[in-house]
Amino acid sequence: MAKITLSNLRHSYYPNPQGPDDYALKEIDLDWEDGGAYALLGPSGCGKSTLLNIISGLLIPSEGRILFDDRDVTKLEPTQRNIAQVFQFPVIYDTMSVFDNLAFPLRNRGAAEADVTRRVHEIAEMLELTDMLKTRAAGLSPDNKQKISMGRGLVRDDVNVVMFDEPLTVIDPHLKWKLRSKLKELHQKVRATMIYVTHDQTEALTFADQVVVMQDGEIVQIGTPVDLFERPAHTFVGHFIGSPGMNLLPCEINGQSASFQGQPITLEGAITKGEGRCEIGIRPEFVALSDKGLAAKVLKVSDVGRHSVVEAMVGETSIKAIVEGETPGQGADVHLAFDPARTRLYRDGWIATEAKQ
C-alpha cells in the first residue's frame, strides 16, 4: 500500500500536441492518501480512463510524474509497479478453477503454496466464493466472474493500489447494489488504497471517501460525497451529481446582492470578487413550493413514486423542485422558495460565494 502522487501530469494522444484541446489530460496535480477509497467520476471522454491507465502503467504520460510513496514510477512497467486492476469486462483464465484463478497472481510471484491457500481462502470467504473454489471459472455467471477478477486484485496484500475500471458494467441491475456494497465492505476490511473509475454517481458516491470529478481532461472538484452534493464547486458538478441536477438561473449582480429577473435572491454568503457571467445554483431538493417567493407557472409534474419532480417556468427559465406529497396541476401558478443556506452563486461556472461559517 502506498501514497500516490500525480505531479504536473499531462497527456496527449497526438505526437505533437498544439493547443490545450489536443490534451486528453490537461494538468493534473493530485495526492492520494495511503489506504483511502477514491473514485474518479465523469462522463465518457473526460479523461478518467487515460488517468487510470497512466497510474497502472499501461500508458506513459506525455508530461509529469507519478510517485508511489515518493518513488518515481512514471516509466515503470505495470508488473514492476505492484498494482492490481479490475476491468470493465471480467477477465477470467478459462481453463483454471476458481481457486487457481485467485492463486494466479500469488503463484506468479513465487509465493509459498501454504500462503497461497491461506490467502485465497480468506479472499474467497470475503467475496462469498468459497463454495465455488473447485469449479471451473469459465461457466460462471458474469457477477461471479467479476467477483473473481476483484478477488485476483485483492489477493496480494502487498499491492500499492487496486484500481477498478467501471467494474459493474456487465452486472445485472438487480445485482449491482450487492456488489457495490460488497466493494465498500471489502475496502473497510482490506484497507488498501483503491481507485474506482465510473460515470455512475451512485457507484462513485457509495464507494469513495473522496470523489474526484473530471470534465474535459480537468479535475473540477475533489471532495467527500457530502461536499459534492451540498456545495458543488462547479456548475458541472452540480449538474452531474444528483438527479435531476442543480437548477442554474442566469442572474444580475449589484455589489453584494444578486437578483433573478428583477427579484432579489438571498445567497449563502458574501460574493467573492471577480468578473464574468453569473448564475445562481440551487438543487431541486432545496426548492420548496410556498405562499411567497418567485412566481412561477407549472410546466410539468413527473411522479417518480417516492416524490414528484415539479418543473415550473419563471419567464424563460425552468426551475425544478422535488416535492413530497400533494403536487399542483399542470399550468398552476405557484411560488418557489429557495433555502438561502443552499443558494450559491457561480461565476463562469466556478463557485463565487463564501461558505457560511
Binding site: 497502472s56 483464465y93 481453463t95 497472481p105 506468479n108 477478477s149
Partner: protein, 287 residues
C-alpha cells in the same frame, strides 16, 4: 435463444437435394461396386464382403495405410506448432498486418498440381535449384527419385510450405479476437510470457485450432495430387499413400470391386478419426 420455425426446412431442401446428388448417390454406387465383381460390359457377380475381407488382410493395404498415417502424423506435428509460432510472432496492428496476411495466403492460392510440379522441378538434382544446391554445392546425396528418405523429406516439406499458412491464419484470427484487457490483466498479475500463452492465448485459440487440426487432418489424409505429381508414389512404393494406391488399383488395374471396398474403408477411417479428434477437443466444453 432457440426458436421453432418449420419454414426453415424449406430453405434447407435445395441443399439436401444437392448433397444427395453430390454425395449420397456416388456413395451408394461405390457401395454397390464394393460387394460385386465386374469384368466390364455391365456384367456383375455378387461377392458379398469378400473384397473387404481380402483388403483388411492384405499387406499392401496395411503398408499404404501405415504410410498415410505417418504422413498425416508428421505434418500435423510440424504444421500446428509452427503455425501457432508464426501467428504469435505476427504483428497485431499497424501497416505490416495486411502485408503479412497476403504473404501467408500466397502458397494456398497455388493449384495443387502446380505445387507438385513446382517442387518436382525445384528438387531435380541436375537442373532444380534445391537439388543442384544439395548435390553439387553441399555435396549431400539428395535425389528423391532414388532415395526414399529424400522423397519423404520432400513431400513433407512441400506440404508444410503449402498448408502451414492455413494454421497461421486461423490461429491469428483467434489471437486478434482476444480483448486487450486480458493481456493487461496478465501483465498486472505478473504472468510470464509462457503463462500468457498457456492460460490466455491457447485457451482462446482452442476453437480455431480444433478447426485447423480437423481440416489439416482430413486434407492430408486424403492428399493425392501433390505427392502423385511429385513422386508418383516412388521410389518403389515408399511414398505410395493410401490415396495413390487406391487410384492405382481402380484405374491402373481396373479392379473396381476392391477399389470400391478400399474407398469405403478409407472413408470410414477418415470419419472415425475426425470424430475422435472432435470429441476429444471439445470434451471440456460440455462440462
Amino acid at each position: 435463444m432457440k426458436t421453432q420455425n418449420n419454414r426453415g426446412w424449406f430453405f434447407v431442401l435445395p441443399v439436401l437435394l444437392l448433397v444427395a446428388f453430390n454425395a449420397l448417390i456416388p456413395i451408394m454406387t461405390v457401395v454397390n461396386y464394393s460387394v460385386q465383381e465386374t469384368f466390364g460390359n455391365n456384367v456383375f457377380f455378387w461377392q458379398g464382403l469378400d473384397w473387404f475381407q481380402q483388403l483388411l488382410n492384405s499387406d499392401r493395404f496395411h503398408a499404404a495405410l501405415g504410410r498415410q498415417f505417418l504422413f498425416t502424423g508428421l505434418i500435423l506435428v510440424i504444421e500446428i506448432p509452427l503455425g501457432i509460432i508464426i501467428a504469435l510472432s505476427m504483428p497485431r496492428q499497424g501497416v505490416w498486418v495486411p502485408v503479412c496476411l497476403v504473404l501467408m495466403a500466397l502458397p494456398m492460392l497455388i493449384p495443387w498440381n502446380v505445387v507438385g510440379a513446382m517442387w518436382n522441378i525445384f528438387t531435380l538434382p541436375d537442373i532444380g535449384l534445391l537439388g543442384y544446391l544439395m548435390n553439387h554445392t553441399l555435396g549431400i546425396n539428395y535425389d528423391m527419385t532414388q532415395n526414399p528418405l529424400a522423397a519423404w523429406v520432400t513431400i513433407i516439406t512441400m506440404d508444410v510450405w503449402h498448408w502451414t499458412s492455413l494454421v497461421v491464419l486461423l490461429s491469428y484470427a483467434g489471437l486478434v479476437s482476444i480483448p486487450d484487457a486480458y493481456y493487461q490483466a496478465a501483465k498486472i498479475d505478473g504472468a510470464s510470457n509462457w503463462s500468457v500463452f498457456r492460460y490466455i492465448q491457447l485457451p482462446k485459440m482452442k476453437t480455431v485450432l480444433t478447426i485447423a487440426i480437423l481440416l489439416r487432418f482430413m486434407d492430408s489424409f486424403n492428399i493425392y495430387t501433390e505427392p502423385f505429381v511429385l513422386t508418383g508414389g516412388g521410389p518403389g512404393n515408399s511414398t505410395t499413400l493410401l490415396s495413390i494406391d487406391l487410384v492405382k488399383i481402380a484405374l491402373g488395374q481396373f479392379d473396381l470391386g476392391p477399389a470400391a471396398a478400399m474407398s469405403l474403408i478409407y472413408f470410414a477411417i477418415t470419419l472415425l478419426v475426425s470424430w475422435l479428434f472432435y470429441t476429444l477437443m471439445t470434451k471440456d466444453d460440455a462440462k
